[in-house]
């Protein structure tokens, strides 16, 4: 089973490497959205410093959602998904592997580039780690919840807008707590509580979301 899962992850990563523009588009979207906020709000450093975690988090949320459509769509189009449904590996495990690969492609680059963007907002350097850590714990949750939405809207008309309507409300607790971590650290409270909550969410979503997405996939494909 482990070999099959490794194969799924390897295949998705290889596909992403061959179509690297897909990965870069999401990353560039993230960078551009974050850069738009100072242009819209004004370059006041004190203001930018306070809104930095929230802006980075909202932009990461939108970028993660932008990439969701692709999680199952191409596998569905070329019939690979049906083979996965029929395969001996439990579908929940396959979905978990696909989510992991999806996060490595679309989530991890956001985490890595977020400190640079936060510096543009004059965010204190010693807190960059907290922000990146909160994103590192939070973006996998976004991918996991998003997998359920992506599975439910597979092959539907108006999929993209519908997917955002389904998934964004479910993202709200992650956003509140994720952005709260860096904000609490900036105000001197320390972000441990929020980071622990994010970790709890990750464990919870990691345990249940793949199975819910697997059920949704079976409904969508049958």
């Amino acid at each position: 089973m482990i070999a099959a899962l490794r194969c799924v992850i390897h295949r998705d990563l290889l596909l992403a490497a061959r179509r690297s523009s897909d990965v870069l588009t999401v990353l560039l979207f993230f960078v551009i959205v974050v850069s738009l906020f100072p242009l819209g709000i004004g370059p006041e450093p004190a203001l930018l410093r306070t809104i930095a975690p929230g802006v980075v988090w909202v932009a990461a949320l939108l970028a993660a959602m932008l990439a969701l459509n692709r999680m199952f769509a191409s596998d569905h189009a070329d019939g690979t998904l049906e083979q996965m449904l029929l395969g001996a590996t439990p579908l929940g495990m396959t979905v978990a592997a696909k989510v992991l690969a999806h996060w490595l492609i679309s989530g991890l680059p956001l985490v890595l580039i977020s400190p640079v963007l936060a510096l543009q907002f004059d965010f204190p350097q010693e807190l960059l780690g907290v922000l990146a850590l909160s994103l590192a714990l939070g973006t996998p949750v976004l991918s996991l919840i998003g997998a359920i939405g992506a599975a439910l809207t597979l092959g539907l008309r108006g999929g993209g807008a519908l997917l955002s309507l389904l998934v964004l409300p479910l993202y709200v607790p992650v956003l509140i707590i994720g952005a709260g971590a860096a904000e609490a650290a900036a105000s001197g409270l320390g972000g441990q509580a929020q980071l622990l909550l994010l970790g709890a969410m990750l464990v919870f979503a990691g345990a249940f979301a793949p199975w819910a997405a697997a059920v949704a996939l079976r409904i969508s494909v049958e």
Binding site: I145, I148, L152, T153, L156, R157, G158, L162, L165, L166, L168, P169, L170, V172, P173, A212, V215, A216, I219, S220, E222
Partner: protein, 246 residues
Amino acid sequence: MSINWFKYSSPQTFFPLAGRLASWFGALALVACGAGLYIGFFVAPTDAQQGESYRIIFIHVPAAWMSMFLYLVMAFWAGLGLAFNTRLSGMMASALAPTGALFTFVALWTGSLWGKPTWGTWWVWDARLTSELILLFLYFGFMALQAAIDDPRRADKAGAVLALVGVVNIPIIYFSVKWWNTLHQGASVSLTKAPTMAATMFAGMIVMAFGFWFYSIAAALMRARCIMLERERASDWAVEYAKGSA
């Protein structure tokens, strides 16, 4: 004697029953809402701190209760439909969603009408208000997903998964007051201690809550009847009913 739990799970047997129940609960809703509004506006005393503006709670609080409760009921039917593969459960879930969304909207709307004179603002980003807003989005998402799927069986099942996932939001709403505890006051009514309000105010609110409850049952059953007719339009009983009522 064994009970046949699935007797009314077929649209054909449930359709006439739903019609009778809907008219009874509709009548009860009229009586209860009339009595509740009478108590609320004429019997209940003026509040010492908030003046007359507090009277909106007679609509606001029951609507907020119903908005959350109906989501649970909807998820219950949705889960039942997934577990037993009964057609009617999915129809009930999709019949409940618009009523739930309506009450969520009413709760938000009346809350902001109450907030302006009392808190001095139409809207605050308080935990409970925000959660209620998310609940409204969840209802919209459920309805949008079902509307986007043409095959009713897939629509029911996909909606059921979404509703069950959204149920995670209900405890967040409930505990958010304790977790974040911002502007919104704690619950005035709980099962474990005596209500912190005058008995007549409490009575008015409870009567209104029953009124909204009966209304929800009546409205959901009426809507379920329409869905049943639409989906079963090829079957004999539906054709017969349509001929009889034409």
